[in-house]
Each structure stands twice: as structure tokens, then as C-alpha cells.
Symmetry: C2
Subunit: 335 residues, 2 copies
């Protein structure tokens, strides 16, 4: 049974764990510092498809098929998939997972989706509602650019605060009897400090990350010193600095063991990605490859993984709305 | 603890139930056969807001605030909300629930969202991960028309197979010690029989409903005679007929106790809604008002509630894709 501790944190019994995972990437990510860790990297960013959206769907198909292969499972062995992405009506997930015939609950947490899907899948396994569940997400630079900003053919200039949407996907298998345990969850709540600049997502999401980390540490009575790594999803360079500042104001120091997937995945200066990586596929691919591999090798034993999302749409921004942020936290241990 | 039975069905222990619910509607729904059952109906479909999207957000805000009032609870008494809608990036949920400060996992199941949110919330309560959870969804005729089809100002003609998106919302409170129990869940899988007509959603979704009902009845060894009502979400007139035909081919008769929220909510001939109602708010508002009231009065004791969703987007349709359907089932009892 799960247990609620403090105001906002869920303590799982240790039943649910991540037994296998897959990180998929595109060409720019392959050329970055983590290139060697991805299970599969596509040099053709269209993945042989006609459109960017179909290419992104193929990232999810590939992620789940590779996950099944690594775990030596068939589609019918997975009880339920939790999947989501950034595209309108989550079509990367729908069309990417359509052929698999696995029961599906679509999730929408914007770039927080990797932590959200693992969290919900873990609760399903904890309760006995699923024996095996998969958590999946993706993003694609070109499908995201044309949906949220401008078609890439337009060649629009990017601001220094802009982040580069990762072409990539992550898939994780959640089941019992794994040594990589999901021990605690803190569900994010919407935090909106009225940031309206859609080219500065790090600033919009940092307050939500600070809120969730603060509530988790308070609920568990722990400090950053109790963890080997505090890993955020895609705050990038600017959002990461803001997160550390916001927590410092509350007397919490995390800078010494904080890292951000958006800063890890690219050589920020050398690859011209401005403030770093972003998108569901950013922490999706980084967590499910590089970080999971470090947990499996016991280079990391206790980590906090906090994926952040910006819950706006082009329509809400055009209507003058600010950008609400959210951040979901997982405490993961390697035993 | 939950238990898996058969291939696809989850049996809950009886811990999780729906203790309170709220159905909200617009003016056309108020004028329909169920007008008297809604908790609140707005005569002004803009709800005093500047845009249709903000009006839809206000439907969700109103639904949750009314739910809290009916249950005599404060925002802090709800551990987590599961919410979703049809708009790009689920902005009705985000902006509608932003001010409440309640932890949120966004859900995307298109028009299946009401059953999905109750299902996931029930598993959270079953596991102990939440003591109280809310399940929320909405849709709005005008925000849906302009996003999925044409702006209403264009005055486009509607085909006879088209359905009318309901302006409405539903909110349900899931907790322990309720007499309206969620006993079984069957998670839908994507079913796509290559229907491409975006003005005939009933035909696109009926195969998914048939698949989920078939799997549930097989897993539980029950027949339609074991239930007082088999209630589908928003198949409308055409989809309902197709559902009955598809199940008949498999030797299953449900016509004698099947009803569809899309057929119940409007006077189909008199209100000129062609094939009936649709949208997340269709079964959201009907289930959370009229149906829940009948369960509370014990006019209904055992029902199956199957909400169906069409998981396409305008982009996927423009790219020549067919319309994948999904249907999630709940077995609900009044004890």
C-alpha cells in the first residue's frame, strides 16, 4: 500500500520499480555529450516518414518496440501504457502506439510527462491494477517548432533565452521486483508567476520546480545532501539558475548536486542551442538512457527526478495569458 | 488491493467510490430533456468571458468549486485532480484549475476523459496514494468547432452524421466510504477501422466501444442482463446503432438496456443536433448529474459506463490519417 506523508508526498511500498528503459534520440542529440548512451539514434530526423509528426510517432513506436525487445516481452505482456507528448491531441502517442494494441491512458503534462507517466504507472503497479506498465513520451524539434512557434523553413531568429526542443523519446517499464525502485512521488500543482515570454520557458517553469522540491523536502524531512543527484527535466541554463535562486531564498541549497537534462544533452555553446534543450523527449531520452544506466551501475543510488512542464498553448498566449508551470517529482533508488 | 481478472479488466476492492458529483451545462443543454438535472446551467455561453476558451475554463472552475461546496470541502482537502479536455495542450483544464492550487495530473483521452479520469482516480484511492481525488472534464461547442472544424461565424453546413459538441463539464469526487462504488475498470486500447470522415465520429468510435465491452464481458463472465444500464459516452445515434450491430456479430445483445449520453442530452430532432451530442462535456455532464442522481436514488444499481474518444487532430486528418478510437469502461454499483 502507498502511504501519504506530509501534505503532498506519496510513499510507495517499494513494490514498483523501473526494470528496463530505452532512450531514443535524433542526429543533434547523437552529436551531443550523451550521444553514446542512447539505445538508438536516428541520423535522418524524418525517420523515413513523410511528415515531422509521423517522424515523432515513429520515435514512440521505436521506443516501445525496443523496450519490449530489451525486456524480452510481447505486446500482450504489458497491461497498460501511460503516454503523452506535446502535439495537439497527443497525436505522436496515439499514432505511434496504435499498432501495438496495448491498453492506453493518454497523459498530458507537457514536458513533465516522463515523470508523470512513471508516477501514474508506479501507482497502478503498487495497487495491483497492473503487473507491468509502460511510461512513454517524445518530442521532435521540427513538429514542436511549427506548432508552437514558426515553421522551420521560415528561418526565424531565436532569442538567447530560447531552448531547443529535443528530438527524442523515452520509454520505461514499471513492474514489481525491480532493483531500481520508485520510492516517493510528489504531484505538482500549477504555479504561475505571470511569465508571458513564450521564448523563455525556463523562467516560466522554474517556480513550479522550486515549489515541488520544497514540498517534497519538507514532507520527507530530508535535504539535498541526502541525494546523489537532483535532476530537473528541461529548465535549461536560465531556468536552472532561477531554480537555485528561488530555493536559496527559502534556505535550501541544491546547486552542488543539481543537474538539468536540458543542459546535459547538448554542448550548449558548441551546438548553438542558446539556453539548452527542452521538450518531453529531453528528460525522456536522458533519464531513460544515461541516468538509468548510471543507476543500474550504482554510480547513483538515490536521486530526485523532477520533470517540469509549461502548460500553455499558442492560443492561450495569443489571448494574453501567462504561462502556468508544473513539476512532478520522483524519488528513485538503486538497491 | 486491486486484482487483474481475465486479460484486460481490473477488479477494485470496493474501497474507491464516487461520493459526490457535479454536472454543468450551457444554454442548449439546459433546453434539452435533461435540463432539470444539471447542478448549474449557464444561459450565456460565454460565461461572461472574453473568449470561448476562457468560457470553457470557467466551466471547469465552476464544476470543481461547486463540487467542493456540495462536499463541504476546501481545496486543500483534495489530494490530486485528474483533468483533461479537447483543446490543444488541454488549456481548459490548466487555466480552469490554475487558481485552485490542487496537485494535478493532466489526462488526454479525448471524449473518453470522464471515464479515464474516474478510473485513474479510483486506482489512486485504491492504492492509498490519494485519500480524495477529483476527476474533471469539459467541452464547449464554440471552442471545439473553431479548433476542429470551422469558426462558428463561418456558418458552415453540418452533415447529417455530424454531432454537436456539448457545452458542459463534469466533476466527480472519488474517495473511500462512498456507497457508489467503482468495482471494475477495463482500460481501452486503440481501435482503428480506417474511418476517415471527421464529421462521423460515432462511426470512428463505435468499434472501440464494442472492443472494450466485449473484453469486459468476457473477462467477468457476465452478460448485458447483469446490468441495469449500459451507458456509452457520445456515440450519438449513428455510433450507437453501429455499436449494437458490431456486438450482435459477436453474439452479444445490448440494445435492450443501452443508452448513449449523446442521445440523452438533446432532443435530437427538435434541437437540430443531427446525430446527437459529443465532446468530453457530454458524458461528463450527463454522468455527473442525471446518472449519478439515479444511482443515488437506487433507480440504478449496476451500470457499465463506457466513454469513447476519437484520438485524431486536424493535423493528422490533413495528413491523410484515419481516426483512431478508444473506449474506457467503468462498472459502477450503488449499494
Amino acid at each position: 500500500m502507498a502511504k501519504r506523508i506530509g501534505e503532498a508526498t506519496i510513499e510507495l511500498s517499494g513494490k514498483a520499480g523501473i526494470s528496463q528503459s530505452v532512450g531514443i534520440a535524433g542526429s543533434k542529440e547523437l552529436a551531443g555529450p550523451l550521444g553514446q548512451y542512447f539505445d538508438i539514434a536516428f541520423k535522418d530526423d524524418k525517420l523515413g516518414q513523410e511528415t515531422w509528426e509521423k517522424a515523432e510517432s515513429t520515435l514512440q513506436t521505436t521506443a516501445v518496440k525496443t523496450l519490449l525487445k530489451k525486456a524480452e516481452l510481447m505486446e500482450g505482456d504489458i497491461d497498460v501504457i501511460f503516454a503523452g507528448d506535446l502535439l495537439n491531441q497527443c497525436i505522436s502517442s496515439t499514432f505511434g502506439l496504435r499498432e501495438l494494441g496495448i491498453p492506453l491512458y493518454g497523459q498530458y503534462g507537457a514536458c513533465s510527462t516522463m515523470a508523470q507517466t512513471i508516477a501514474v504507472a508506479s501507482v497502478f503497479v503498487e495497487s495491483g491494477a497492473a503487473n507491468r506498465a509502460a511510461a512513454v513520451t517524445s518530442s521532435h524539434f521540427c513538429s514542436a517548432e511549427r506548432q508552437f512557434r514558426l515553421p522551420i523553413e521560415y528561418g526565424g531568429q531565436r532569442t538567447p533565452t530560447a531552448q531547443w526542443t529535443v528530438t527524442g523519446a523515452g520509454a520505461a517499464l514499471i513492474e514489481t521486483d525491480s532493483q531500481i525502485k520508485v520510492k516517493h512521488l510528489t504531484t505538482g500543482r500549477i504555479v504561475d508567476l505571470s511569465v508571458k515570454d513564450a521564448t523563455n520557458m525556463g523562467a516560466a517553469m522554474a517556480p513550479a520546480a522550486a515549489d515541488t522540491i520544497f514540498r517534497y523536502l519538507r514532507d520527507t524531512g530530508t535535504t539535498a545532501f541526502d541525494y546523489d543527484l537532483i535532476l530537473t527535466g528541461d529548465l535549461g541554463k536560465i531556468g536552472s539558475e532561477l531554480l537555485c535562486q528561488l530555493l536559496q531564498r527559502q534556505g535550501i541549497e541544491i546547486g552542488f548536486n543539481h543537474q538539468d537534462c536540458g543542459c546535459l544533452i547538448y554542448d550548449i555553446e558548441g551546438q548553438d542551442v542558446h539556453a539548452g534543450g527542452s521538450g518531453c523527449g529531453c528528460c525522456g531520452s536522458v533519464f531513460c538512457s544515461y541516468i538509468m544506466q548510471r543507476l543500474q551501475r550504482r554510480e547513483l543510488n538515490h536521486i530526485l527526478f523532477i520533470a517540469t512542464g509549461a502548460l500553455m498553448s499558442p492560443t492561450s498566449s495569443q489571448q494574453g495569458e501567462s504561462i502556468p508551470g508544473i513539476a512532478h517529482l520522483l524519488h528513485i533508488t538503486a538497491e
